[in-house]
Symmetry: C2
Subunit: 242 residues, 2 copies
């Protein structure tokens, strides 16, 4: 599910975090920050002004201590006995994740999945704008006419990426076409790839890659269903990010 | 991205893991086990017979110590200086995750995303079999005829689930329809839900839920692109599961 190409491994943060690993900030810590952001958005919408480590992590079964540690990594936001200011913390975290701006995204692959992603509300309401949808066969029709984006030929990705300031590519092609799609994305100068194809891709150093693997979620659910409903284990607590 | 309903919080593993949290085994530890399984499958295919914690974690930037800790949680599989037997470890982990059998899955929502998932090779090659595809409007056509599964009316889910031994449901409907889909899945007696809709769902205790949130991956990529390409940070190591 999770894999990022290393740009440069280096131990410069070792003293700060106390870890013996070389990671400056871990991918999973960043995932957790994204979760805190979702909770903060909800709290802000509810008119809540102050919150706590406990409240931020509770929904996701993340301990207050882990929340404090994660947020502490980026600077001391909370005050003992007072907590966090919802709006201010949200703004700070958005800035840290680089989300004070909109990121332009190209989807390569205009089949079912590519089109589903192009129309996915979760993306539409995010800081990520689907700015181009491309395919090797842009003329293929799936009998639906409501897509707002024109489907472009993959060969125009370099110009389109440049014109529209696209920095992230999503691969939504079948497995055997994934490497071609990755090559096109890299050649067009994009810096990061979210890969939905069930295949590994190779990219040069400096390009970040996440592989989305649905089956990991299913395996996780299977574990809990198996333990509880097939093996009768009653003390299962299927929760908790590390 | 990650949320599981608690079945029963209980501190019975406290002594064993040394954590003050109540979690017996964390969702993220299980995600990592799924990653080790993928690596083991590759190694086995390459004819490799022995492996090490380092080799298992390297691809995913997980430290050898973390690999040892994760595997140790389920029993002592490795031997100091000798490592792990690839085939045996894989079998053991498959058993632990409940993957010595096939799990039947129903997809609720036969739009673009539901159909894309129904045909996704990553699922087809897994231990999860898409056994039913259902919709409120099963007659709707998207101009494509190659789906092998008949699209059924959501109302028949209880019978179909019973007949086909379906235990896991995937929600692939638009956000506003997600709760209805969840209610149908729960009413049909399924035990776990993978929710692709950009909406929160409520389920009774005892039903496990994972929410898939694509934007978390994108936020993570944006962080690294921002740091390296916009802020010129050169010591970024965009890797590392905790």
């Amino acid at each position: 599910m999770i894999e990022l190409k290393r740009i440069k491994a280096c131990g410069s943060r070792k003293n700060r975090t106390g870890h013996s690993d070389s990671s400056a900030v871990s991918t999973l810590a960043l995932f957790r920050v994204s979760l805190y952001l979702r909770r903060l958005a909800e709290l802000e919408q509810e008119g809540v002004e102050k919150t706590s480590s406990r409240e931020l992590g509770e929904r996701f079964s993340i301990s207050a201590a882990s929340v404090r540690k994660d947020l502490g990594f980026f600077g001391a936001f909370g005050r003992a006995g007072i907590g966090y200011e919802v709006h201010g913390l949200r703004e700070s975290l958005m800035g840290i994740l680089g989300l004070e701006r909109t990121w332009k995204v190209a989807i390569v692959g205009a089949g079912r999945l590519g089109r589903a992603l192009a129309k996915h509300k979760g993306l539409a309401e995010s800081k990520f704008e689907i700015s181009a949808l491309l395919d090797k066969f842009p003329d293929k029709t799936l009998g639906e006419g409501e897509l707002k984006l024109e489907i472009l030929h993959i060969d125009v990705l370099p110009e389109v990426a440049h014109e529209r300031d696209i920095e992230i590519g999503i691969i939504a092609v079948p497995g055997p076409d994934a490497q071609d799609a990755a090559n096109s994305i890299v050649a067009a100068g994009l810096k990061a790839i979210l890969n939905f194809a069930p295949a590994r891709i190779k990219v040069p150093p400096g390009v970040f890659v996440h592989n989305v693997d649905f089956t990991i979620y299913l395996e996780n659910l299977a574990y809990f269903v198996n333990r509880v409903y097939h093996q009768g284990q009653t003390d299962i607590d299927g929760s908790g990010l590390d």
